[in-house]
C-alpha cells in the first residue's frame, strides 16, 4: 500500500456513518413467520382471509375465472392474453421501420442504450454469469453484439443488443438470458400470440403492445426493440429475442444460437 492509499484508509476511518439499524432483527422477523404459521399475526391472517374470499368470489364469475386461470407460461415468463381493443390498429399492419420511428429517434435510441444499467463487455459478462452466453450464427455476418448488459434480478440476467448494420443508429434485435429464479414477469399483454417451436421446444411469438414488469416493482423492464418477441426456455434459462423481423427469420436466429 503506497502513501496515498494509507492516507485514504486513515482518513476514511473518520467517517461519521449513521448508526447501523437493526437489520438482522427486521430480516429475522420477516423470515420467521413464513416458516412458522402459528406466529402469523392477526393482521396478516385477516388480510389473507380477505384475499382468499375475494379470489373465491372472482372464481364464481365465469369471465373473471377465465382471466385468472388462462395464462401461458414459458420458463419464468407468464403471459396474460388481453382482448384486443377494437379501436387499436393492429401493429402488424405497420412496417417495422415505422414502429421504430413511432417510439424514438435513432439518436434517442442510442442515448437510451447508453443509460441502461449494467453495461459491460461480452467477455466480462460471461465471467459474471454461470450459464453460457450463446451467440447467433445466423445471419452469417451478425458478429458479436454491439451492447452487452448484466443486470441483477435475483440472478444475473444478460442482455445482448445488436445494431442494424444498414442503419447503425437503429437496434436490429436484442437477446435476453433470464436465469431460473429471477424475478418473475407478472404483467404482459400482447395483442397477438402464436405458439411455435425453437429447436423442437415450445415457444411463444408475441406481437403488439407488450409492457413487462418485474415483481420487484422497482425496475421496469423496457423493451429495446419495438417489434416482436420470441420466448422459449431450456432447463435453467428463459430466452427472449426481440426483433422486428418475421417469425420465420426470428426462429432461424433463435435456432442458430451456439456457444462462441
Amino acid at each position: 500500500m503506497n502513501e496515498f492509499e494509507k492516507q485514504l484508509t486513515d482518513i476514511s476511518k473518520g467517517m461519521d456513518y449513521p448508526p447501523t439499524p437493526d437489520i438482522a432483527g427486521f430480516v429475522s422477523a420477516r423470515l420467521r413467520p413464513a416458516r412458522s404459521p402459528r406466529l402469523l399475526s392477526k393482521t396478516w391472517a385477516w388480510s389473507l382471509t380477505i384475499v382468499l374470499i375475494l379470489l373465491l368470489s372472482l372464481m364464481l364469475i365465469p369471465p373473471a375465472r377465465a382471466a385468472i386461470l388462462e395464462f401461458i407460461q414459458i420458463g419464468i415468463v407468464r403471459i396474460f392474453p388481453q382482448p384486443i381493443e377494437p379501436t387499436v390498429e393492429p401493429i402488424t399492419t405497420a412496417t417495422p421501420q415505422t414502429q421504430m420511428l413511432q417510439t424514438a429517434t435513432p439518436n434517442a435510441t442510442l442515448q437510451f442504450l447508453e443509460t441502461i444499467a449494467g453495461k459491460t463487455t461480452l467477455a466480462d459478462a460471461q465471467k459474471q454469469v454461470t450459464y453460457p452466453i450463446l451467440l447467433p450464427a445466423y445471419p452469417a455476418d451478425i458478429g458479436e453484439p454491439d451492447y452487452v448488459y448484466i443486470q441483477n434480478a435475483d440472478g444475473n440476467m444478460a442482455i445482448l443488443v445488436w445494431l442494424d448494420p444498414q442503419s447503425p443508429e437503429t437496434v436490429l434485435m436484442s437477446l435476453h438470458f433470464i436465469p431460473d429464479g429471477s424475478w418473475a414477469i407478472t404483467k404482459v399483454s400482447p395483442t397477438i400470440l402464436e405458439e411455435t417451436t425453437v429447436n423442437g421446444v415450445r415457444a411463444i411469438w408475441a406481437v403488439g403492445p407488450y409492457p413487462l414488469r418485474f415483481t420487484d416493482g422497482d425496475l421496469d423492464f423496457t423493451r429495446i426493440v419495438d417489434g416482436n418477441v420470441l420466448i422459449w426456455a431450456d432447463d435453467t434459462i428463459t430466452y427472449r429475442l426481440e426483433t422486428d423481423l418475421s417469425l420465420e427469420e426470428t426462429t432461424r436466429i433463435a435456432e442458430s444460437l451456439t456457444s462462441p
Binding site: 482518513i11 476514511s12 467517517m15 449513521p18 437489520i23 423470515l31 420467521r32
Partner: protein, 240 residues
C-alpha cells in the same frame, strides 16, 4: 397434560434459545471478541485464527441454507454494519441504505443454497448490495424520494462546528470519491473505506485480483487529480 409431559412449544422454544446462544457464540468468534467458553469447543479453540473462524461461518451458512433462521441471524449481525455502510457510501442516504441492506439479506437468504460455502460470506453480500444499489440509483422512485427529502425542513442533528476535524476530512474525501464513476467508487469504498483485502474486493466485484489492482490504480489516479483540483484543502490538510 401430565407433569411428565413437556409442552411441544416449550421444548421447541428451549431448543431455539439454545441454538441462538450457540450461534451467538459463533458470531462473537467471527467478530473476534469471544473471550469466554460458550459451550462450543470448536469456536473457542479456534477463535484467534481467521481460517477457523471462516470455517465456522461456513457451518452457519450451511445450517441457514437448510432453512435454519437462527443460524442466519448471527451471520447478519456479523455483516450488517459492512453492508449498511457500503450501501450508505454508494447512495448517500441512510433510509435507502437500510432498505438495500434489508433486501440484501433477504435475497442472500433466498439464494443461500447457491452460495459456495468455501468462500467468505462478506464479499458475496457486498456484491448483492452493490447490484441493488446500482439498480436503485437508476430507479425513478429514488429521485422522487430524494425530491421529497429535499423539501423536509429538518435541521441536521449536528452542526459543522460540532464535528471533529477528522469527520470533516473524511466527509470531504467521501465527496471527492462521489465525483468518480460508480465502478471507481465501488472499488475505493471496498478497499479503503471498508478495508477489504484485495481477494475479497475481487470476489465482491466478480473480477480477478489483477483486475482489482489495475482498476484501483486508475481510480486512485483520477481521485488524486480530483482532490488536487477540486478539494485542495484535503491535500493541504494532509500535508500539514
Amino acid at each position: 397434560m401430565t407433569a411428565n409431559q413437556k409442552s411441544p412449544y416449550t421444548t421447541e422454544g428451549t431448543e431455539f434459545t439454545e441454538k441462538i446462544t450457540q450461534y451467538l457464540c459463533a458470531f462473537r468468534v467471527l467478530r473476534g471478541d469471544c473471550l469466554e467458553p460458550f459451550g462450543i469447543n470448536r469456536c473457542i479453540k479456534d477463535r484467534n485464527t481467521s481460517r477457523e473462524a471462516h470455517l465456522d461461518e461456513s457451518t452457519l451458512v450451511r445450517h441457514a441454507a437448510d432453512g435454519d433462521t437462527a443460524a442466519w441471524e448471527p451471520l447478519m449481525l456479523a455483516h450488517q454494519q459492512a453492508v449498511f455502510r457500503f450501501a450508505h457510501l454508494l447512495l448517500g442516504d441512510p433510509d435507502e441504505a437500510e432498505d438495500i441492506a434489508q433486501e440484501t439479506f433477504l435475497r442472500a437468504w433466498n439464494h443461500l443454497r447457491r452460495f459456495d460455502t468455501s468462500r467468505p460470506l462478506r464479499p458475496w453480500l457486498l456484491s448483492i448490495a452493490s447490484n441493488l444499489a446500482s439498480n436503485k440509483r437508476r430507479s425513478a422512485s429514488r429521485y422522487l424520494a430524494a425530491l421529497t427529502r429535499a423539501f423536509r425542513s429538518e435541521l441536521p442533528s449536528t452542526t459543522i462546528e460540532e464535528k471533529s476535524t477528522q469527520h470533516i476530512e473524511a466527509n470531504t474525501l467521501w465527496q471527492a470519491v462521489r465525483t468518480l464513476d460508480f465502478t471507481d467508487q465501488q472499488i475505493i469504498y471496498l478497499r479503503y473505506f471498508l478495508e477489504l483485502p484485495v481477494s475479497e474486493t475481487a470476489q465482491a466485484l466478480n473480477i480477478a485480483e489483477g483486475t482489482v489492482k489495475s482498476r484501483l490504480n486508475r481510480a486512485l489516479e483520477k481521485l488524486r487529480q480530483i482532490i488536487k483540483q477540486d478539494f485542495p484543502l484535503l491535500s493541504e490538510g494532509r500535508e500539514a
